[in-house]
């Protein structure tokens, strides 16, 4: 990303050197930033922890992606003219359809799985009827822009509507009365499918009267898989994050080294305002204790 900035904005020919594990991520980022012809080469992973001699061997060696000498690709990247070089078409229009082509239930489940639209666990198919039931629990209009998400700082934001959030909420198995919480999570701008090699996961703590209204657990076993609202709100947060930010695919848009099991549920629970030794979250942010 910085190489694109130096090259395109400051007019300085630049070459980036990456490790080979980032091949797909580099292709994706350069494409999305409008510079698919950006110049780069690869050395083996890892760099971290290697000796100077080992790293010099990387420099003297060949790209594990192209099989060509690393420094030859560096020099060519600085000197070879750009015209006609690796230029690909870029998409300028919003093209995501509202509906999936009609199909048998089994085939649709397979389609969602194959398209990486799930967390690989079974989902509820988002029929228009179920999505409408979800939307009945918000005053927001279905086509209203609900927010923007991206997996990390090097990618551009994707946009989504309230209806798109409802689709993902249905898939997660959430009940319609949970939707205000799920919509708030979507609108936060914080992805539960962030991409970093440190394999972080999100955590959700829900404050306010809605905790009791929808039956969230703030007590014994709150973080464990024993409460429907906790479980499906957290799952919905993950699903909506990956689908509304344009995906979360290992090696491409997800680079967590080991991954994180907490990402299945985003460790979602309610704040135990009544028994907590700390000031309730809403009070910390200027609201009255009794609202």
């Amino acid at each position: 990303m910085h190489a694109i900035t130096i090259d395109s904005k400051y007019g300085v020919p630049t070459v980036a050197i990456h490790t080979n594990a980032f091949e797909k991520a580099v292709q994706s980022v350069t494409q999305m930033h409008g510079m698919p012809q950006a110049r780069y080469t690869f050395v083996p992973q890892p760099v971290m922890g290697k000796t100077a001699e080992q790293l010099r061997a990387y420099v003297d060696g060949k790209s594990p992606i192209s099989g060509r000498p690393v420094m030859q690709e560096v020099i060519e990247g600085l000197t070879r003219p750009a015209e006609g070089d690796r230029v690909k078409e870029t998409k300028f229009e919003r093209s995501t359809p509202r509906l999936v082509e009609a199909g048998a239930e089994e085939n649709l489940h397979r389609l969602f799985l194959d398209n990486n639209w799930t967390d690989k666990l079974p989902i509820i198919l988002p029929t228009e009827k179920k999505v409408a039931e979800m939307l009945a629990h918000t005053s927001r209009k279905p086509d209203e822009v609900a927010g923007h998400l991206r997996s990390n700082q090097f990618r551009q934001h994707w946009e989504f509507t309230v209806e798109k959030v409802a689709v993902n909420a249905v898939m997660a198995g959430a009940r319609p009365e949970y939707f205000p919480v799920i919509l708030a999570l979507a609108a936060s701008g914080v992805s539960a499918r962030g991409s970093t090699t440190s394999s972080m996961a999100a955590m959700v703590v829900v404050n306010g009267p809605i905790r009791h209204e929808i039956g969230m657990n703030a007590g014994t076993g709150a973080m464990a898989p024993y409460n429907h609202a906790n479980a499906t709100i957290g799952r919905a947060y993950g699903l909506l994050s990956q689908n509304l930010q344009g995906g979360s695919l290992p090696g491409d848009s997800y680079m967590g080294s080991q991954g994180n099991g907490y990402a299945y549920s985003s460790v979602t629970f309610a704040e135990n305002e009544e028994r907590s030794p700390w000031t309730p979250f809403h009070v910390q942010h200027g609201f009255k204790p009794d609202r």
Binding site: I6, A16, G49, R56, D60, E106, H109, N152, K164, V167
Partner: protein, 122 residues
């Protein structure tokens, strides 16, 4: 598995309607909604003109401050000294963490350099 469907019960692999699972799945199409958001509009960016040659040029080696990326770039610097001594290389660290833009450093490179090499992490 018919997830989310509660119509009828299973009897010997068939529902009370008498249809088999494959008959139900193959015969009745349903319409569902697409869960994917809207991609950003992409504005193509121009590349800087490339250099005719590196002879006598100054290249900045930009360290994004990943672990050991500086050590790696020092090897690149040594490679130029060994193989292309007419090239001047200058090593520079980004001002902050790699996630932040660094316009001051980019301005400095633009003012004093002919090209840049940035890398590498992990």
């Amino acid at each position: 598995m018919l997830i989310g469907s509660h119509r009828g019960g299973l009897q010997n692999g068939k529902r009370s309607s008498g249809k088999s699972r494959s008959e139900r799945w193959g015969g009745n199409k349903i319409t569902v909604m697409n869960p994917v958001g809207y991609p950003p509009k992409i504005t193509p960016k121009p590349m800087a003109p490339r250099l005719e040659s590196l002879d006598g040029k100054t290249l900045y080696l930009v360290d994004p401050r990943f672990d050991d990326s500086g050590l790696f770039l020092r090897q690149v610097q040594d490679w130029f000294a060994d193989h292309m001594p007419s090239v001047t290389t200058k090593f520079v660290e980004m001002s902050s963490v790699y996630t932040k833009d660094d316009p001051k450093t980019w301005e400095m490179i633009k003012a004093n350099g002919d090209g840049a090499i940035i890398g590498v992490g992990h």
